[in-house]
């Protein structure tokens, strides 16, 4: 990324202070969001989300496996994010490892819940086939194709859309089959079930520049930030995850204020996403 001159930095900070950002948005406006589902034919569920110039793809793949002995009635879910070199030369080779790890951990915290399975975005018992013996392992992969700021929000939206798009095959295990070795699982019936994603939270990142917070920062605005707080909020306006980035210290009252602003913004974002995802699914069914 080309560096910013002192004049450009001043312009960005001044604009944010006056509630008029460089691209004309207000502080709490998102860029136009485009959602497309079913973009990866081999995956069981996939989605592409574009927020301005930021483009991310999420895919969900299901594999047959044994469930965890401590949670026999649930499938296992794992989540990883990687950044493609197409987003910029800084992601070439191993350059993307640090950012990928940071994004993966933040998303895992928001979406996968704790060790006991509490607080997960969706109920993994929908992935179970035979209690204690057979289940689906869900691998959620995120890929950043083009990076122009606000990657966490875009990835959260893409994963929500990909999970909505996922069709879990209905597996019929013949009665009386021994399940201690590899059983013959019948997947020939083309029926599928869907995952209930109404509980999947959205992620809202608030970036503090000067004395004000903005939502959906571009990478130029992010370079001017003092700190950023990402809040993951679900439909019931409950907080599912919280991450603070950036070196500057924040007064606790400011953090509480940021959380309430994020909660307010999340409602609009949730509605917008739900309608975009529904439209994308309808489009995909038509084609």
């Amino acid at each position: 990324m080309v560096g910013l001159s002192a004049g450009e930095k001043h312009f960005i900070q001044g604009g944010i202070a006056q509630d008029l950002r460089a691209d004309g948005r207000k502080r709490l406006n998102y860029r136009p969001i485009y959602v497309e589902t079913g973009v990866i034919p081999q995956a069981d569920g996939s989605a592409k989300v574009k927020m301005g110039a930021t483009e991310v793809i999420a895919s969900v793949k299901l594999d047959l496996a044994r469930p965890n002995p401590s949670q026999p009635g649930k499938g296992k879910v794992s989540l990883f994010v990687s950044c493609s070199a197409t987003a910029g030369p800084m992601f070439e080779g191993r350059g993307s490892e640090e950012l990928s790890a940071e994004l993966s951990v933040a998303l895992q915290r928001c979406l996968l819940g704790g060790k006991s399975g509490a607080g997960a975005a969706f109920d993994p018992s929908c992935l179970s086939i035979v209690d204690g013996k057979l289940c689906w392992d869900a691998y959620i992969d995120g890929l950043v194709v083009s990076a122009d700021g606000n990657l966490l929000d875009a990835l959260g939206a893409a994963i929500k859309a990909a999970l909505t798009n996922t069709r879990v095959p209905v597996a019929n295990v013949p009665a009386g089959a021994s399940l201690d070795e590899d059983p013959d699982v019948d997947l020939s019936s083309q029926e599928t079930t869907r995952i209930d994603t109404s509980g999947v939270p959205v992620i809202v990142t608030l970036t503090k520049v000067g004395r004000h917070y903005i939502v959906d920062a571009t990478s130029e605005e992010e370079s001017q930030m003092s700190s950023a707080v990402s809040v993951s909020i679900n439909k019931e306006r409950r907080i599912c995850g919280l991450t603070k980035r950036g070196g500057a210290g924040l007064d606790p009252s400011i953090i509480l204020d940021m959380i309430s602003v994020a909660s307010h913004v999340s409602e609009q974002l949730m509605n917008k996403l739900d309608s975009e995802i529904a439209a994308a699914e309808a489009d995909e069914q038509d084609t």
Partner: protein, 241 residues
């Protein structure tokens, strides 16, 4: 195993000399100097070009021409079974090298000395012919970036199964273990820049299969021409001409 049934139809419903459906889009990655998405059937590839720009590693700088670098990656989810190690494995390194050499031959590198051109190719969905799709995507991305080239490079694969030459193999046909010939040509100059084959073929059949792949390359070149022309019209329209 039957790859071409007695009526002459392949596993995905195509005829032996039929290519898969092609689709391309230019300019998808806004931050890159040039970018393109290229689809051949279910194989979907995105390429981004950054350059010409200053050489990052001074020791690699060439004083009389541009340095061309290429990285090819396949993410975990792109193939049927989820892969373990997406970057740096030997197949990726080999394909990166192949794409770099093919593109380097057609870029007019002597016009941009002491600079660097980076081509990043990311496979989104792999269903056979990824090498060819990558080269086609890279050509479009370089054209979108405005990098001077001798000619477009287009690529296509062909094989020979059940005694029938087949054009544009899918993953299912490729994994049959039969011969897989990948050809890359400069369509206007009518020259071959890439030729790779595995398995065995008698020489006379080899000539037929290479000829078939070359015809496929020319069909891809026609499509790429149309896409670039349409893109230029859109640019003119936006400038108000």
């Amino acid at each position: 195993m039957e790859y071409v049934n007695p009526e002459g139809i392949r596993e995905d419903g195509r005829r032996p000399l039929e290519m898969r459906h092609l689709h391309a889009e230019i300019g998808t990655v806004a931050r890159a100097d040039g970018s393109a998405v290229f689809e051949m059937g279910n194989t979907k590839v995105i390429a981004a070009v950054y350059g010409p720009r200053e050489v990052q590693n001074r020791s690699q700088q060439l004083n009389d021409q541009a340095l061309v670098r290429c990285e090819y990656t396949m993410p975990n989810f792109s193939t049927g079974d989820r892969m373990r190690k997406p970057k740096g494995d030997r197949r990726s390194t080999e394909i990166s090298l192949v794409i770099r050499q093919t593109m380097e031959a057609c870029i007019l590198t002597h016009l941009m000395p002491r600079s660097q051109i980076d081509i990043y190719v990311q496979v989104l969905s792999a269903d056979g012919g990824t090498r060819s799709a990558c080269i086609n995507a890279a050509t479009l991305a370089l054209a979108d970036a405005g990098i001077p080239m001798r000619d477009l490079v287009t690529s296509c694969s062909a094989g020979y199964l059940n005694s029938t030459p087949l054009l544009d193999l899918s993953y299912f046909e490729d994994s049959a273990g039969g011969p897989d010939v990948t050809v890359g040509i400069l369509p206007k100059l009518d020259k071959v820049t890439l030729l790779q084959m595995d398995a065995r073929l008698p020489i006379d059949i080899f000539e037929i299969v290479v000829q078939l792949a070359t015809e496929g390359c020319k069909a891809v070149a026609n499509y790429i021409h149309e896409v670039l022309l349409e893109n230029t019209k859109q640019l003119e329209y936006r400038r108000g001409l």
